[in-house]
């Protein structure tokens, strides 16, 4: 191997990783900014760094200080939780039907699930708003918490179906045959083999649902009326100046999410490794 080749190999071996790290840095830059400015002892608005008195822990000690911020956070978490539960349940049933059965209308079903994902959020939001305002208001449904939940379930549903479907399709059909061969009737074959094997897909789908719901702004903005979620709170307070407590909460959610995922992976890998 010539030196030239060696250099080329080194570059081709490492350049990808270097670029990847650079991209990750890019992804993290605004998060780091958010973190840094949660310590800013700002005067009017949290835009420029005030060297006087910074860094300060004031905002961290009083995260619920600004009116409504923690209510908005609670709403976001509750909406995310409910939407995730319902969407995961309904989506899993849909995925099973679409992957496992041949029936009339399967193609239409697949399209019905796919189209919401190919529809821009703003169109979803606008259409839901017209429905809620012009259709559902007759039944006494006001824009607010429940309309947000209904809307979030709808747009999370397709993502759940896609995620669970992928997992189901990659499942070896012979495993279920093996179960049947080993005296499992269809009931125990489902609960002892199919379900545990699809479960990681369902958990992924649930996590995805929650992240999408928690971070959604566009649809929420259309259907929320006077109710505020955390992203909406930040957007609305943008003109007045976003309080540093939003940075505190945003960064904490990031840390909590990372911690939970790491914890999940550690537990997962411990369960997978041999007991000994």
């Amino acid at each position: 191997m010539t030196t030239g080749q060696r250099i080329r190999f080194w570059i081709s071996d490492h350049i990808v990783m270097l670029v990847a790290l650079f991209v990750l840095l890019y992804l993290f830059l605004p998060v780091a900014y958010t973190f840094a400015f949660s310590f800013n002892n700002y005067k009017k608005s949290n835009i420029s760094w005030n060297p006087e008195g910074s860094p300060t822990l004031d905002h961290w000690q009083n995260p619920c200080g600004p009116a409504g911020i923690c209510d908005a956070l609670t709403t976001s978490i509750t909406v995310g939780g409910i939407a995730t539960l319902v969407a995961t349940f309904l989506g899993t049933l849909l995925a099973f039907a679409l992957v496992r059965y041949r029936f009339k209308g399967r193609g239409v079903g697949n399209i019905l699930v796919f189209i919401p994902m190919a529809t821009p959020e703003i169109v979803l939001g606008a259409s839901l708003l017209t429905l809620f305002v012009q259709g559902f208001s007759q039944f006494g449904l006001k824009l607010g918490f429940w309309t947000i939940v209904l809307a979030h379930i709808m747009f999370c549903l397709s993502f759940v179906v896609v995620t669970v479907k992928a997992r189901l399709q990659s499942l070896d059909p012979r495993l279920e045959e093996a179960a049947a061969d080993l005296y499992a009737d269809s009931f125990s074959s489902f609960w002892k083999v199919t379900f545990p094997l699809v479960l990681p897909g369902i958990v992924s789908a649930a996590l995805l649902s929650f992240s999408l719901s928690f971070d959604d702004f566009i649809i929420t903005n259309f259907v929320s009326g006077d109710t505020s979620t955390f992203p909406k709170y930040v957007y609305v307070s943008y003109l007045r100046g976003i309080p540093a407590q939003a940075n505190v909460i945003g960064f904490s959610m990031f840390v909590i999410a990372v911690a939970l995922v790491v914890l999940g992976q550690v537990i997962g890998s411990r369960r997978r490794s041999p007991v000994k």
Binding site: L27, L94, T119, P120, I122, S127, A166, R167, L171, D215
Partner: protein, 307 residues
């Protein structure tokens, strides 16, 4: 949290070992319909019905002289307004979203490739790094970008100092909007590509390396085609939300020259009295354009397995 990674299969990825995803063998109308019922009902009530309602609104006419009051009609006037008055906005939406998709692809591919083939035990950590920023909130991060790119911020000042910034600003220009879109939808590009690369057998790529001495040829002939389902899913998941976005243009763009269709729809809905029909017409036009593009794109590059 490999959740999003499964999205790679939107492009027909995940398959049972031993070839194509098996066609379902079970005939079972009754059970299948029972399983479908709640989900399909939900989509009918909260997706199809609103769309129908929105279509009806887009065809309404206004009572002359009473702004904000409409009657049921089949009037395509709003579509005419939507297309003639807001053509530049459509152009920008597609252009910005296209550019953002391209940039996201360029950034995402090396990251996804590194995660799939180079990261080893760091794979999980990298995956978390890609997804975790979601939880800081999309709005908060976009606002952070506004400050980072601001005139007095480090990047703009440096570029100005080097005389590399002709206009003097980054924010308030289309550059900032495209950068914001690229940033915000990057994870939707990374994860499907990663998922399809991860399923690919590294041995095939090695074999490609044997056949083609040139690394670039190997990539073009072997690696890229294998990750095509992921690339397809990734571009759709980036392009579609980017084309409909208005937050980036609102927070990073200027008042006039960078507004996208989303901004118009939003303001017609919330800020213009009597704007509902035009907003609805804009929404439908946008959706039609996107669906047409998606259709052409999938037909050109994709598989039918997408559905």
């Amino acid at each position: 949290m490999s959740a999003l990674a499964h999205l790679g299969s939107t492009g027909g990825g995940a398959q049972a070992p031993g070839g194509a995803a098996p066609e379902p063998t079970k005939k079972g109308g009754f059970t299948a319909y029972l399983l479908l019922l709640p989900g399909v009902l939900w989509l009918l009530v909260f997706f199809v019905a609103p769309m129908v309602q929105l279509a009806a609104v887009s065809l309404q006419s206004q009572f002359p002289g009473y702004p904000g009051y409409y009657y049921r009609d089949v009037n395509f006037g709003s579509y005419l307004t939507a297309i003639t008055e807001y053509l530049p906005h459509f152009g920008r939406s597609l252009l910005f979203a296209g550019a953002a998709t391209l940039f996201a692809f360029v950034l995402a591919y090396p990251l996804a490739y590194a995660m799939a083939f180079k990261a080893g035990k760091w794979r999980g950590v990298m995956m978390i790094c890609v997804i975790a920023p979601f939880f800081t909130s999309f709005i908060l991060r976009t606002v952070a970008w506004r400050q980072i790119l601001a005139d007095e911020g480090p990047i703009a000042s440096t570029l100005r100092f080097l005389h590399l910034l002709p206009g003097g600003h980054i924010t308030e220009t289309w550059v900032a909007v495209v950068a914001g879109l690229t940033y915000n939808f990057l994870p939707f590009m990374v994860l499907p590509i990663y998922a399809s690369l991860e399923r690919a057998d590294p041995k095939i790529i090695e074999a490609g390396g044997d056949l083609y001495a040139n690394g670039l040829t190997t990539f073009r002939r072997v690696t890229l085609p294998m990750s095509m389902p992921g690339v397809l899913a990734g571009t759709l998941l980036t392009f579609i939300p980017a084309a409909g976005d208005y937050v980036n243009a609102e927070l990073l763009g200027s008042d006039t020259s960078t507004k996208m269709v989303g901004n118009v729809i939003e303001s017609q809905f919330f800020k213009v009295l009597g704007g509902f029909p035009v907003a609805a017409a804009l929404s439908f036009t946008l959706m039609a354009v996107i669906l047409a593009l998606v259709f052409l794109y999938v037909r050109r590059y994709g598989t039918e397995e997408l559905l």
